[in-house]
Amino acid sequence: MTKTYIRVLFICCAVCFFVSPCFSSTLDTFEGQSGTIKISGGTAHIPVMKEAAKRIITFNSDIQISIAGGGSGVGIKQVGEGLVDIGNSGRAPTDEEINKYQLKMFKWAIDGVGVVVNPKNNVKSLIKTQLVDIFSGKITNWKDLGGLDKTINVYTRDKASGTRAVFWKKALDKGEITDKANFVVSNGAMKSAISNDPYGIGYVSVGHIDESVAPVALDGVVPTLENVKQGKYKIARGLYSNTKGEPSGLTKKFIEYLFSNEGQQIAADKGFIPVK
């Protein structure tokens, strides 16, 4: 396949399983259910989707949940065309998309989009005009920013990416992205590209930032969960799960689960800001 598919298929997880008593009430709605839920789209959502799927399938092994990436555009399109049950997007679907597919959107967490560099890079702070110039290709060497005398390798995402859409709009003010930029296809791929390239710069969902990449402060504000939550870091967006029309059956239960205390806790654990 041409896309990075992350497909989780947990079959028959446990002979004896353990469900923590305080959670059992939330997962109880999946009792006696069976069937499949197909999810695709936004790659920022994947850690949360995987964890939720794991817990549900551990509780009831008759349910199968498949999770694919592809980007927000793919998620919206596939759910609209009826190829999947839930299409995730890291941006709100446009009015056009909502009308065309009768989408119902559920915003279950808030996420930031942070600029990241390799941890070895000593440039850890930029002002907005510098960022715009780097991505448009005007600044091409790290030494102009106080770093080593090395060419800047710009990484960006393809058009299907909601992360790109939000970053482009809110961080670059819809400015140009240089045609010399390297393209990667998911938040995970961006992280591994930057962690491998000491002279690279890119952007990922704040929930994906860990020790393998270093966040860059923008106008003095570091992209952290705390700063996004307090509204100090402005490049933020909602994480949406979209369904075609009103969700029903297992899909409905899955979305309810995302909004339950447990689901919201998973979102928080994975580095996002719960909406409740």
């Binding site: 041409t2 555009g73 390297n182 990667v184």
Partner: protein, 285 residues
């Protein structure tokens, strides 16, 4: 005719017609869906313009250059390597070692390209970046190294097969004249099996051009026209994979059919040239 034979014949017919029909239908499909481009006269525009979606310029020239440079460079690395390997397997090497080498090569044909891409990102890309100190290491050179590994088995197997077809009496004659192994390869085997070598080369080129995963993972996918082998570049196949994810209705999506048609034409030309070589009678000396 026995019933079984009757069915077998029908089945073979069916298989042949089906595969032919599918090939033609796919081409027809691409031409029909790409028709708006032909009608607007944009098709030839596309071939010479850069890809700047924000400025309504949707040319695929950089991708054509990317495809050609990566696949030809890869083939350039792979050809001498394969030729040497095949000579070793067929003539030079000791029997046991040759056999092991050939088995290994056969095994290599089955490795999915995504594995090469994956290994390339973590092993090759950092090396290229540090050695040449230019760019991110995701570039034409890295991708063509990996493509070289990808196409080598195809070529080696083809070459050894055609080397093995050299009549034994010819080889015995060389021995009788007191010729050494190198002379045997240079003056008898290579001139005799040039046709097999060419066929292997052309098939390998087709394989290199059609590969998607290696270029997508390792070549960097930048849309700028590359001006050195250390620049990031995008191939036609990777371009299709990247744009198809985004949209089904825009003009950008429609230009993908142009990419498809170009790729199709490339491979058709390659296949036809293989045919024309095969159909000519053996060269007599």
């Amino acid at each position: 005719m026995k019933l079984v034979e009757h069915f077998a014949e029908k089945f073979f017919w069916f298989a042949a017609v089906l595969s032919l029909a599918v090939t033609i239908l796919i081409f027809g499909f691409m031409v029909i869906l790409g028709l708006p481009l032909f009608k607007g006269g944009q098709f030839f525009d596309l071939l010479s313009k850069p890809w700047l979606p924000d400025h309504d310029t949707l040319g695929i020239y950089p991708m054509i250059v990317g495809t050609l440079s990566i696949s030809l460079l890869g083939l350039g690395f792979a050809f001498p390597l394969s030729l040497g390997c095949s000579a070793f397997i067929s003539v030079l090497g000791p029997k046991g070692l040759s056999k092991i080498l050939k088995k290994t090569v056969q095994l290599m044909t089955g490795i999915p390209t995504v594995i090469y891409g994956f290994v390339g990102i973590f092993l090759l890309v950092p090396i290229i970046r540090e050695v040449f100190e230019r760019g991110s290491g995701m570039c034409i050179l890295s991708a063509s190294f990996l493509l070289c590994i990808l196409v080598c088995p195809t070529m080696i197997l083809f070459f050894t097969d055609s080397f093995d077809q050299v009549p034994k009496s010819f080889l015995d004659a060389v021995d009788a004249l007191g010729g050494n192994k190198a002379q045997k390869i240079l003056y008898v085997i290579l001139p005799y099996s040039w046709r097999g070598i060419l066929t292997g080369l052309i098939l390998a080129l087709g394989r290199a051009m059609g590969d998607t995963m290696i270029a997508l993972m390792v070549a960097g996918n930048a849309v700028a026209l590359p001006d050195s082998v250390l620049d990031s570049a995008r191939t036609l196949t990777a371009h299709i994979a990247l744009v198809i994810a985004a949209d089904f209705e825009s003009l950008e999506f429609k230009t993908l059919f142009a990419c498809g048609i170009i790729l199709y034409l490339f491979t058709t030309v390659i296949a036809l040239s293989v045919r024309s070589i095969e159909s000519k009678p053996w060269r007599k000396k």
